[in-house]
Protein backbone atom coordinates (compact mmCIF):
# COMPACT_ATOMS: atom_id res chain seq x y z
CA UNK A 1 0.00 0.00 0.00
CA UNK A 2 2.82 2.37 0.86
CA UNK A 3 4.37 1.52 -2.50
CA UNK A 4 1.28 2.59 -4.42
CA UNK A 5 0.81 5.73 -2.38
CA UNK A 6 4.44 6.65 -2.82
CA UNK A 7 3.99 6.41 -6.53
CA UNK A 8 0.96 8.66 -6.34
CA UNK A 9 2.57 11.28 -4.11
CA UNK A 10 6.16 10.87 -5.29
CA UNK A 11 9.04 9.39 -3.31
CA UNK A 12 9.78 12.78 -1.78
CA UNK A 13 6.50 12.46 0.09
CA UNK A 14 7.15 9.01 1.53
CA UNK A 15 6.17 10.15 5.02
CA UNK A 16 2.81 11.29 3.67
CA UNK A 17 2.23 7.86 2.16
CA UNK A 18 3.05 6.23 5.47
CA UNK A 19 0.67 8.57 7.27
CA UNK A 20 -2.14 7.60 4.95
CA UNK A 21 -1.53 3.92 5.66
CA UNK A 22 -1.42 4.61 9.39
CA UNK A 23 -4.69 6.57 9.24
CA UNK A 24 -6.29 3.85 7.17
CA UNK A 25 -5.34 1.16 9.65
CA UNK A 26 -6.57 3.27 12.55
CA UNK A 27 -9.87 3.82 10.83
CA UNK A 28 -10.10 0.11 10.13
CA UNK A 29 -9.59 -0.70 13.79
CA UNK A 30 -12.33 1.71 14.82
CA UNK A 31 -14.85 0.77 12.19
CA UNK A 32 -14.18 -2.96 12.31
CA UNK A 33 -14.45 -3.21 16.08
CA UNK A 34 -17.75 -1.38 15.73
CA UNK A 35 -19.29 -3.10 12.76
CA UNK A 36 -17.26 -6.25 12.40
CA UNK A 37 -14.70 -7.14 9.76
CA UNK A 38 -15.97 -6.54 6.22
CA UNK A 39 -16.22 -9.36 3.67
CA UNK A 40 -13.16 -8.29 1.78
CA UNK A 41 -10.88 -6.54 4.28
CA UNK A 42 -8.07 -5.79 1.88
CA UNK A 43 -10.45 -4.22 -0.66
CA UNK A 44 -11.88 -2.15 2.18
CA UNK A 45 -8.43 -0.95 3.19
CA UNK A 46 -7.53 -0.10 -0.37
CA UNK A 47 -10.73 1.86 -0.84
CA UNK A 48 -10.19 3.91 2.30
CA UNK A 49 -6.55 4.57 1.47
CA UNK A 50 -7.46 5.54 -2.07
CA UNK A 51 -10.11 7.98 -0.94
CA UNK A 52 -7.71 9.52 1.50
CA UNK A 53 -5.14 9.91 -1.24
CA UNK A 54 -7.76 11.59 -3.42
CA UNK A 55 -8.56 14.01 -0.60
CA UNK A 56 -4.94 14.85 -0.03
CA UNK A 57 -4.20 15.50 -3.68
CA UNK A 58 -7.32 17.62 -4.10
CA UNK A 59 -6.69 19.64 -0.97
CA UNK A 60 -2.97 20.11 -1.39
CA UNK A 61 -2.55 20.24 -5.14
CA UNK A 62 -1.41 23.84 -4.97
CA UNK A 63 -0.11 24.06 -1.42
CA UNK A 64 2.31 21.16 -1.57
CA UNK A 65 4.68 20.73 -4.42
CA UNK A 66 3.74 17.47 -5.96
CA UNK A 67 6.00 16.69 -8.82
CA UNK A 68 3.43 16.21 -11.52
CA UNK A 69 5.99 16.24 -14.29
CA UNK A 70 6.16 12.47 -14.01
CA UNK A 71 4.21 11.21 -17.04
CA UNK A 72 2.36 8.74 -14.88
CA UNK A 73 1.30 11.36 -12.40
CA UNK A 74 0.48 14.25 -14.71
CA UNK A 75 -2.95 12.81 -15.43
CA UNK A 76 -3.78 13.38 -11.77
CA UNK A 77 -3.74 17.12 -12.48
CA UNK A 78 -6.78 17.13 -14.71
CA UNK A 79 -10.30 16.48 -13.56
CA UNK A 80 -10.86 14.79 -16.91
CA UNK A 81 -8.52 11.97 -16.03
CA UNK A 82 -8.11 12.17 -12.23
CA UNK A 83 -10.56 9.48 -11.11
CA UNK A 84 -9.62 6.90 -13.69
CA UNK A 85 -5.92 7.52 -13.08
CA UNK A 86 -6.40 7.03 -9.37
CA UNK A 87 -8.19 3.74 -10.05
CA UNK A 88 -5.41 2.74 -12.38
CA UNK A 89 -2.83 3.18 -9.63
CA UNK A 90 -4.66 0.67 -7.47
CA UNK A 91 -5.06 -2.17 -9.94
CA UNK A 92 -3.42 -5.39 -8.96
CA UNK A 93 -0.85 -5.69 -11.71
CA UNK A 94 0.54 -2.18 -11.29
CA UNK A 95 0.56 -2.69 -7.51
CA UNK A 96 2.96 -5.58 -7.88
CA UNK A 97 5.18 -3.47 -10.09
CA UNK A 98 4.99 -0.69 -7.55
CA UNK A 99 6.40 -2.96 -4.89
CA UNK A 100 9.22 -3.76 -7.25
CA UNK A 101 9.86 -0.09 -7.95
CA UNK A 102 9.76 0.64 -4.26
CA UNK A 103 12.27 -2.14 -3.68
CA UNK A 104 14.62 -0.61 -6.21
CA UNK A 105 14.23 2.79 -4.60
CA UNK A 106 14.92 1.35 -1.14
CA UNK A 107 18.05 -0.37 -2.41
CA UNK A 108 19.48 2.74 -4.00
CA UNK A 109 23.29 2.58 -3.85
CA UNK A 110 23.30 5.87 -1.93
CA UNK A 111 21.54 4.26 1.03
CA UNK A 112 23.54 2.18 3.49
CA UNK A 113 22.69 -1.50 3.85
CA UNK A 114 21.35 -1.03 7.37
CA UNK A 115 19.09 1.76 6.25
CA UNK A 116 17.97 -0.24 3.23
CA UNK A 117 16.77 -3.03 5.49
CA UNK A 118 14.98 -0.60 7.79
CA UNK A 119 13.11 1.12 5.01
CA UNK A 120 12.21 -2.18 3.35
CA UNK A 121 10.84 -3.57 6.59
CA UNK A 122 8.91 -0.39 7.19
CA UNK A 123 7.45 0.35 3.78
CA UNK A 124 7.26 -3.04 2.08
CA UNK A 125 6.83 -5.46 4.95
CA UNK A 126 4.69 -3.22 7.14
CA UNK A 127 6.82 -3.56 10.29
CA UNK A 128 6.32 -0.89 12.93
CA UNK A 129 9.27 1.15 14.09
CA UNK A 130 9.11 -0.70 17.41
CA UNK A 131 9.22 -4.07 15.67
CA UNK A 132 12.21 -3.06 13.57
CA UNK A 133 13.93 -1.76 16.69
CA UNK A 134 13.28 -5.09 18.39
CA UNK A 135 14.62 -7.03 15.43
CA UNK A 136 17.87 -5.10 15.47
CA UNK A 137 18.00 -4.83 19.26
CA UNK A 138 18.25 -1.09 19.19
CA UNK A 139 16.07 1.79 20.31
CA UNK A 140 13.06 3.04 18.41
CA UNK A 141 14.82 6.34 18.34
CA UNK A 142 17.72 4.95 16.34
CA UNK A 143 15.37 3.33 13.86
CA UNK A 144 13.34 6.51 13.53
CA UNK A 145 16.53 8.39 12.75
CA UNK A 146 17.56 5.85 10.14
CA UNK A 147 14.14 6.00 8.49
CA UNK A 148 14.23 9.76 8.64
CA UNK A 149 17.59 9.85 6.92
CA UNK A 150 16.37 7.59 4.13
CA UNK A 151 13.25 9.68 3.61
CA UNK A 152 15.39 12.80 3.49
CA UNK A 153 17.52 11.06 0.90
CA UNK A 154 14.41 10.33 -1.18
CA UNK A 155 13.36 13.94 -0.86
CA UNK A 156 16.70 15.48 -1.68
CA UNK A 157 17.40 13.25 -4.63
CA UNK A 158 13.78 13.47 -5.78
CA UNK A 159 13.96 9.78 -6.46
CA UNK A 160 11.55 8.57 -9.01
CA UNK A 161 10.03 5.19 -8.35
CA UNK A 162 11.13 3.42 -11.44
CA UNK A 163 12.37 0.10 -12.59
CA UNK A 164 15.96 0.88 -13.59
CA UNK A 165 17.00 1.09 -17.20
CA UNK A 166 18.63 -1.92 -18.79
CA UNK A 167 22.28 -0.87 -18.32
CA UNK A 168 21.65 -0.18 -14.65
CA UNK A 169 19.50 -3.21 -14.16
CA UNK A 170 22.18 -5.74 -13.34
CA UNK A 171 23.87 -3.69 -10.66
CA UNK A 172 20.62 -2.53 -9.13
CA UNK A 173 19.17 -6.03 -9.09
CA UNK A 174 22.29 -7.23 -7.32
CA UNK A 175 21.70 -4.63 -4.64
CA UNK A 176 18.10 -5.71 -4.23
CA UNK A 177 19.06 -9.38 -4.02
CA UNK A 178 21.71 -8.54 -1.48
CA UNK A 179 19.20 -6.71 0.69
CA UNK A 180 16.77 -9.60 0.44
CA UNK A 181 19.48 -12.05 1.44
CA UNK A 182 20.47 -9.87 4.39
CA UNK A 183 16.85 -9.74 5.44
CA UNK A 184 16.60 -13.50 5.16
CA UNK A 185 19.78 -14.05 7.13
CA UNK A 186 18.59 -11.70 9.81
CA UNK A 187 15.45 -13.79 10.09
CA UNK A 188 17.26 -17.12 9.81
CA UNK A 189 19.85 -16.38 12.40
CA UNK A 190 18.90 -13.27 14.29
CA UNK A 191 22.12 -11.69 15.44
CA UNK A 192 20.38 -9.58 17.98
CA UNK A 193 16.91 -10.66 18.89
CA UNK A 194 16.10 -13.01 21.72
CA UNK A 195 14.24 -15.25 19.30
CA UNK A 196 16.78 -17.03 17.13
CA UNK A 197 14.54 -17.43 14.12
CA UNK A 198 12.21 -14.73 12.94
CA UNK A 199 9.78 -16.48 10.66
CA UNK A 200 8.12 -13.23 9.67
CA UNK A 201 11.38 -11.93 8.24
CA UNK A 202 12.05 -15.21 6.44
CA UNK A 203 8.63 -15.07 4.87
CA UNK A 204 8.92 -11.43 3.86
CA UNK A 205 12.31 -12.00 2.26
CA UNK A 206 10.96 -14.94 0.27
CA UNK A 207 7.87 -13.01 -0.74
CA UNK A 208 9.92 -10.12 -2.04
CA UNK A 209 12.22 -12.44 -3.95
CA UNK A 210 9.23 -14.27 -5.40
CA UNK A 211 8.03 -10.93 -6.77
CA UNK A 212 11.36 -10.57 -8.51
CA UNK A 213 11.09 -14.05 -10.00
CA UNK A 214 7.73 -13.11 -11.49
CA UNK A 215 8.84 -9.95 -13.21
CA UNK A 216 10.44 -10.16 -16.64
CA UNK A 217 13.00 -7.48 -15.85
CA UNK A 218 14.35 -9.22 -12.79
CA UNK A 219 14.09 -12.85 -13.88
CA UNK A 220 17.82 -13.35 -13.90
CA UNK A 221 19.55 -16.59 -12.88
CA UNK A 222 20.77 -14.97 -9.64
CA UNK A 223 17.20 -14.26 -8.58
CA UNK A 224 16.19 -17.88 -9.05
CA UNK A 225 19.35 -19.08 -7.32
CA UNK A 226 18.67 -16.90 -4.29
CA UNK A 227 15.09 -18.11 -4.21
CA UNK A 228 16.29 -21.73 -4.32
CA UNK A 229 18.83 -21.03 -1.60
CA UNK A 230 16.19 -19.54 0.66
CA UNK A 231 13.80 -22.44 0.01
CA UNK A 232 16.47 -24.98 1.01
CA UNK A 233 17.37 -23.09 4.17
CA UNK A 234 13.79 -22.38 5.13
CA UNK A 235 12.80 -26.03 4.70
CA UNK A 236 14.72 -26.78 7.88
CA UNK A 237 13.13 -24.09 10.03
CA UNK A 238 10.88 -26.44 11.98
CA UNK A 239 13.69 -28.72 12.98
CA UNK A 240 16.15 -26.05 14.01
CA UNK A 241 14.64 -25.16 17.34
CA UNK A 242 13.54 -27.45 20.13
CA UNK A 243 10.25 -27.00 21.92
CA UNK A 244 12.12 -24.95 24.51
CA UNK A 245 13.48 -22.64 21.82
CA UNK A 246 16.99 -24.09 21.98
CA UNK A 247 18.88 -24.35 18.72
CA UNK A 248 19.35 -27.87 17.38
CA UNK A 249 22.52 -28.43 15.40
CA UNK A 250 22.39 -29.84 11.91
CA UNK A 251 23.63 -33.29 12.94
CA UNK A 252 20.92 -33.61 15.58
CA UNK A 253 17.99 -32.28 13.58
CA UNK A 254 14.99 -34.49 12.93
CA UNK A 255 15.15 -34.69 9.15
CA UNK A 256 11.58 -35.93 9.08
CA UNK A 257 10.55 -32.42 10.02
CA UNK A 258 12.18 -30.90 6.99
CA UNK A 259 9.69 -29.41 4.60
CA UNK A 260 10.06 -31.65 1.54
CA UNK A 261 7.57 -29.56 -0.40
CA UNK A 262 9.77 -26.52 0.05
CA UNK A 263 12.85 -28.50 -0.99
CA UNK A 264 11.01 -29.50 -4.17
CA UNK A 265 10.10 -25.87 -4.80
CA UNK A 266 13.73 -24.99 -4.26
CA UNK A 267 14.69 -27.59 -6.84
CA UNK A 268 12.36 -26.00 -9.38
CA UNK A 269 13.94 -22.63 -8.80
CA UNK A 270 17.37 -24.21 -9.01
CA UNK A 271 16.55 -25.59 -12.43
CA UNK A 272 15.43 -22.18 -13.60
CA UNK A 273 18.59 -20.67 -12.12
CA UNK A 274 20.64 -22.98 -14.28
CA UNK A 275 19.63 -21.17 -17.47
CA UNK A 276 22.27 -18.91 -18.90
CA UNK A 277 25.97 -18.87 -18.18
CA UNK A 278 26.12 -17.03 -14.90
CA UNK A 279 27.17 -18.77 -11.76
CA UNK A 280 26.72 -16.50 -8.81
CA UNK A 281 27.49 -16.83 -5.16
CA UNK A 282 23.82 -17.67 -4.66
CA UNK A 283 24.13 -20.59 -7.08
CA UNK A 284 27.00 -22.11 -5.14
CA UNK A 285 25.44 -21.46 -1.75
CA UNK A 286 22.19 -22.98 -2.97
CA UNK A 287 24.10 -26.02 -4.19
CA UNK A 288 25.66 -26.43 -0.75
CA UNK A 289 22.31 -26.04 0.97
CA UNK A 290 20.86 -28.58 -1.42
CA UNK A 291 23.52 -31.16 -0.54
CA UNK A 292 22.49 -30.88 3.09
CA UNK A 293 18.81 -31.21 2.20
CA UNK A 294 19.48 -34.21 -0.04
CA UNK A 295 21.43 -36.21 2.57
CA UNK A 296 19.27 -38.76 4.33
CA UNK A 297 21.26 -38.35 7.50
CA UNK A 298 24.19 -36.38 8.72
CA UNK A 299 26.79 -39.09 8.10
CA UNK A 300 25.66 -39.54 4.52
CA UNK A 301 26.26 -35.88 3.74
CA UNK A 302 28.38 -35.56 0.65
CA UNK A 303 31.18 -33.55 2.24
CA UNK A 304 33.44 -34.02 -0.74
CA UNK A 305 31.05 -32.19 -2.99
CA UNK A 306 30.37 -29.58 -0.35
CA UNK A 307 34.07 -28.91 0.06
CA UNK A 308 34.40 -28.51 -3.70
CA UNK A 309 31.60 -25.95 -3.63
CA UNK A 310 33.28 -24.10 -0.79
CA UNK A 311 36.54 -24.07 -2.73
CA UNK A 312 34.66 -22.48 -5.61
CA UNK A 313 32.94 -20.02 -3.32
CA UNK A 314 36.23 -18.98 -1.71
CA UNK A 315 37.55 -18.25 -5.16
CA UNK A 316 34.49 -16.30 -6.31
CA UNK A 317 33.79 -14.31 -3.21
CA UNK A 318 36.53 -14.72 -0.66
CA UNK A 319 35.29 -13.97 2.82
CA UNK A 320 36.43 -15.07 6.26
CA UNK A 321 32.99 -16.53 6.94
CA UNK A 322 33.20 -18.74 3.87
CA UNK A 323 36.70 -19.84 4.87
CA UNK A 324 35.44 -20.88 8.27
CA UNK A 325 32.58 -22.82 6.72
CA UNK A 326 35.04 -24.45 4.36
CA UNK A 327 37.10 -25.52 7.38
CA UNK A 328 34.02 -27.28 8.75
CA UNK A 329 33.78 -29.30 5.56
CA UNK A 330 37.50 -30.12 5.82
CA UNK A 331 37.00 -31.24 9.40
CA UNK A 332 34.29 -33.64 8.26
CA UNK A 333 36.39 -35.01 5.41
CA UNK A 334 39.95 -34.96 6.66
CA UNK A 335 39.73 -34.50 10.40
CA UNK A 336 40.37 -31.78 12.93
CA UNK A 337 44.11 -31.35 12.31
CA UNK A 338 43.59 -30.62 8.62
CA UNK A 339 40.83 -28.16 9.48
CA UNK A 340 43.09 -26.36 11.96
CA UNK A 341 45.78 -26.03 9.30
CA UNK A 342 43.20 -24.60 6.92
CA UNK A 343 42.05 -22.10 9.50
CA UNK A 344 45.62 -21.00 10.19
CA UNK A 345 46.10 -20.32 6.52
CA UNK A 346 43.34 -17.74 6.44
CA UNK A 347 44.95 -14.36 6.09
CA UNK A 348 42.42 -12.10 7.74
CA UNK A 349 43.13 -13.49 11.21
CA UNK A 350 42.46 -10.26 12.99
CA UNK A 351 39.02 -9.83 11.50
CA UNK A 352 38.32 -13.49 12.15
CA UNK A 353 39.14 -13.43 15.80
CA UNK A 354 36.20 -11.16 16.46
CA UNK A 355 33.89 -13.58 14.71
CA UNK A 356 32.17 -15.93 17.10
CA UNK A 357 31.69 -18.83 14.68
CA UNK A 358 35.44 -18.87 14.13
CA UNK A 359 36.20 -19.15 17.83
CA UNK A 360 33.43 -21.63 18.31
CA UNK A 361 34.88 -23.80 15.53
CA UNK A 362 38.37 -23.49 17.02
CA UNK A 363 36.86 -24.68 20.29
CA UNK A 364 35.23 -27.59 18.54
CA UNK A 365 38.45 -28.59 16.77
CA UNK A 366 40.49 -28.45 19.95
CA UNK A 367 37.81 -30.41 21.75
CA UNK A 368 38.09 -33.12 19.11
CA UNK A 369 41.86 -33.13 19.52
CA UNK A 370 41.33 -33.31 23.30
CA UNK A 371 43.14 -30.02 23.90
CA UNK A 372 40.69 -29.31 26.70
CA UNK A 373 42.10 -25.99 28.01
CA UNK A 374 42.33 -24.50 24.50
CA UNK A 375 38.84 -25.75 23.63
CA UNK A 376 37.45 -24.12 26.77
CA UNK A 377 39.27 -20.91 26.01
CA UNK A 378 37.84 -20.58 22.49
CA UNK A 379 34.33 -21.58 23.48
CA UNK A 380 34.57 -18.96 26.19
CA UNK A 381 35.64 -16.26 23.73
CA UNK A 382 32.85 -17.24 21.35
CA UNK A 383 30.34 -16.94 24.19
CA UNK A 384 31.22 -13.31 24.74
CA UNK A 385 30.90 -12.61 21.04
CA UNK A 386 27.36 -13.64 20.36
CA UNK A 387 24.43 -11.63 21.62
CA UNK A 388 22.03 -14.46 21.06
CA UNK A 389 20.96 -16.04 24.35
CA UNK A 390 20.30 -19.38 22.66
CA UNK A 391 23.74 -19.60 21.14
CA UNK A 392 25.32 -18.69 24.46
CA UNK A 393 23.49 -21.57 26.10
CA UNK A 394 24.77 -24.03 23.48
CA UNK A 395 28.35 -22.87 23.92
CA UNK A 396 27.90 -23.14 27.69
CA UNK A 397 26.75 -26.73 27.41
CA UNK A 398 29.70 -27.53 25.16
CA UNK A 399 32.10 -26.22 27.79
CA UNK A 400 30.48 -28.24 30.55
CA UNK A 401 30.56 -31.34 28.33
CA UNK A 402 34.35 -31.08 28.26
CA UNK A 403 34.72 -31.82 31.95
Amino acid sequence: MVAVLTKIFGAEHLAMAEDVVQDTLLQAMQVWSDKGIPDNPSAWLYRVARNRAIDIIRRNRHAIQFDFSDPERILLTSSYSFTATMEHFWQEEPVRDDMLRMMFACCHPGISEENQLCIILKTLCGFSTAEIAKAFLTSEDTISKRLYRTREFFREKRLRLAIPSVPEMKQRTDAVLNAIYLLFNEGYNSTHATALIRRDMLEEAMLLCKLLTEHTHTQVPETFALMALMCFHASRTDSRLSAEGEIILLQDQDRGKWDRQLVATGNDYMNRAASGHTISQYHVEAAIAYEHCAAENYTQTNWERILAYYDLLCEMAPSPVTEVNRAVAIMQLHGATAALTALERITAQKKLSSFYLYNSLLGELHARLRNIPLAKKYFGIAMTQTQSATEQRILGSKISALD
Binding site: I54, R58, I74, L75, T77, S78, S79, Y80, S81, E87
Partner: protein
Protein backbone atom coordinates in the same frame (compact mmCIF):
# COMPACT_ATOMS: atom_id res chain seq x y z
CA UNK B 1 5.38 23.49 -31.36
CA UNK B 2 2.53 25.76 -30.32
CA UNK B 3 -0.02 25.57 -27.56
CA UNK B 4 -3.65 25.15 -28.49
CA UNK B 5 -6.69 25.66 -26.35
CA UNK B 6 -9.44 23.13 -26.82
CA UNK B 7 -12.72 24.57 -25.61
CA UNK B 8 -15.31 21.88 -25.03
CA UNK B 9 -18.98 22.75 -25.35
CA UNK B 10 -21.94 20.55 -24.62
CA UNK B 11 -21.81 16.96 -23.47
CA UNK B 12 -22.68 15.85 -19.94
CA UNK B 13 -22.28 18.49 -17.27
CA UNK B 14 -19.91 18.20 -14.38
CA UNK B 15 -22.06 18.45 -11.28
CA UNK B 16 -20.29 17.28 -8.14
CA UNK B 17 -22.28 16.21 -5.13
CA UNK B 18 -21.41 15.46 -1.53
CA UNK B 19 -21.30 11.73 -2.30
CA UNK B 20 -19.38 12.15 -5.50
CA UNK B 21 -17.01 15.08 -5.25
CA UNK B 22 -15.37 13.96 -8.48
CA UNK B 23 -18.46 13.74 -10.68
CA UNK B 24 -18.11 10.57 -12.75
CA UNK B 25 -16.55 10.62 -16.16
CA UNK B 26 -15.80 7.88 -18.65
CA UNK B 27 -12.38 6.21 -18.26
CA UNK B 28 -12.06 6.74 -22.03
CA UNK B 29 -10.95 10.25 -21.22
CA UNK B 30 -7.95 8.96 -19.33
CA UNK B 31 -7.02 6.56 -22.10
CA UNK B 32 -7.21 9.28 -24.70
CA UNK B 33 -5.27 11.74 -22.55
CA UNK B 34 -2.66 9.14 -21.76
CA UNK B 35 -1.83 9.01 -25.46
CA UNK B 36 -1.41 12.80 -25.42
CA UNK B 37 0.89 12.52 -22.40
CA UNK B 38 2.92 9.77 -24.02
CA UNK B 39 3.44 11.88 -27.11
CA UNK B 40 4.34 14.92 -25.04
CA UNK B 41 1.24 16.81 -26.16
CA UNK B 42 -0.60 17.27 -22.89
CA UNK B 43 -0.17 20.54 -21.01
CA UNK B 44 -3.17 21.03 -18.73
CA UNK B 45 -6.92 21.01 -18.63
CA UNK B 46 -9.94 20.86 -16.36
CA UNK B 47 -13.64 20.28 -16.40
CA UNK B 48 -15.80 23.20 -15.39
CA UNK B 49 -18.63 22.89 -12.90
CA UNK B 50 -21.75 22.83 -14.97
CA UNK B 51 -24.65 24.21 -13.03
CA UNK B 52 -23.27 27.42 -11.58
CA UNK B 53 -21.61 30.48 -12.98
CA UNK B 54 -22.12 34.14 -13.60
CA UNK B 55 -21.51 36.63 -16.32
CA UNK B 56 -20.24 40.13 -15.83
CA UNK B 57 -21.02 42.30 -18.81
CA UNK B 58 -20.47 45.71 -20.34
CA UNK B 59 -19.10 48.96 -18.94
CA UNK B 60 -21.53 48.77 -16.11
CA UNK B 61 -20.21 45.28 -15.37
CA UNK B 62 -23.69 44.10 -14.85
CA UNK B 63 -23.86 40.74 -13.19
CA UNK B 64 -26.19 38.16 -14.61
CA UNK B 65 -26.71 34.54 -13.82
CA UNK B 66 -24.84 32.45 -16.23
CA UNK B 67 -24.17 30.94 -18.27
CA UNK B 68 -26.34 30.57 -21.26
CA UNK B 69 -29.47 29.69 -22.92
CA UNK B 70 -28.70 26.31 -24.32
CA UNK B 71 -26.79 23.40 -22.83
CA UNK B 72 -24.88 22.76 -25.99
CA UNK B 73 -23.38 26.24 -25.79
CA UNK B 74 -22.14 25.91 -22.26
CA UNK B 75 -18.39 25.57 -21.98
CA UNK B 76 -17.88 22.25 -20.22
CA UNK B 77 -14.12 22.30 -19.90
CA UNK B 78 -10.84 23.02 -21.58
CA UNK B 79 -7.60 21.34 -22.44
CA UNK B 80 -4.30 22.83 -23.50
CA UNK B 81 -2.27 20.69 -25.84
CA UNK B 82 0.83 21.05 -27.92
CA UNK B 83 0.71 20.74 -31.70
CA UNK B 84 2.69 21.88 -34.70
CA UNK B 85 -0.25 23.55 -36.38
CA UNK B 86 -4.00 23.82 -36.35
CA UNK B 87 -4.44 20.77 -38.54
CA UNK B 88 -2.40 18.59 -36.27
CA UNK B 89 -4.27 19.89 -33.25
CA UNK B 90 -7.51 18.91 -34.94
CA UNK B 91 -6.11 15.49 -35.73
CA UNK B 92 -5.10 15.00 -32.10
CA UNK B 93 -8.59 15.96 -31.02
CA UNK B 94 -10.28 13.36 -33.23
CA UNK B 95 -10.20 10.52 -30.72
CA UNK B 96 -11.59 12.64 -27.90
CA UNK B 97 -14.50 11.01 -26.03
CA UNK B 98 -16.43 14.29 -26.05
CA UNK B 99 -17.68 13.39 -29.52
CA UNK B 100 -19.62 10.46 -28.19
CA UNK B 101 -22.22 13.09 -27.41
CA UNK B 102 -24.17 14.42 -30.35
CA UNK B 103 -24.56 17.94 -28.98
CA UNK B 104 -20.88 18.36 -28.25
CA UNK B 105 -18.45 20.59 -30.10
CA UNK B 106 -14.90 21.72 -29.56
CA UNK B 107 -13.33 24.97 -30.53
CA UNK B 108 -9.61 24.90 -31.29
CA UNK B 109 -7.68 28.11 -30.75
CA UNK B 110 -4.02 28.81 -30.89
CA UNK B 111 -2.69 30.39 -27.72
CA UNK B 112 -0.60 33.51 -28.28
CA UNK B 113 3.02 33.16 -27.10
Amino acid sequence: MKDYLLLFRGGPQYIPSAEQPQAPISPDWRNWMETLVKNGRFVAGQRLVGDTGAVLKGRKTQLTDGPYAEGKEVVAGYLIIKANDLEEAAALLKGCPIFEHDDASTEIREIAF
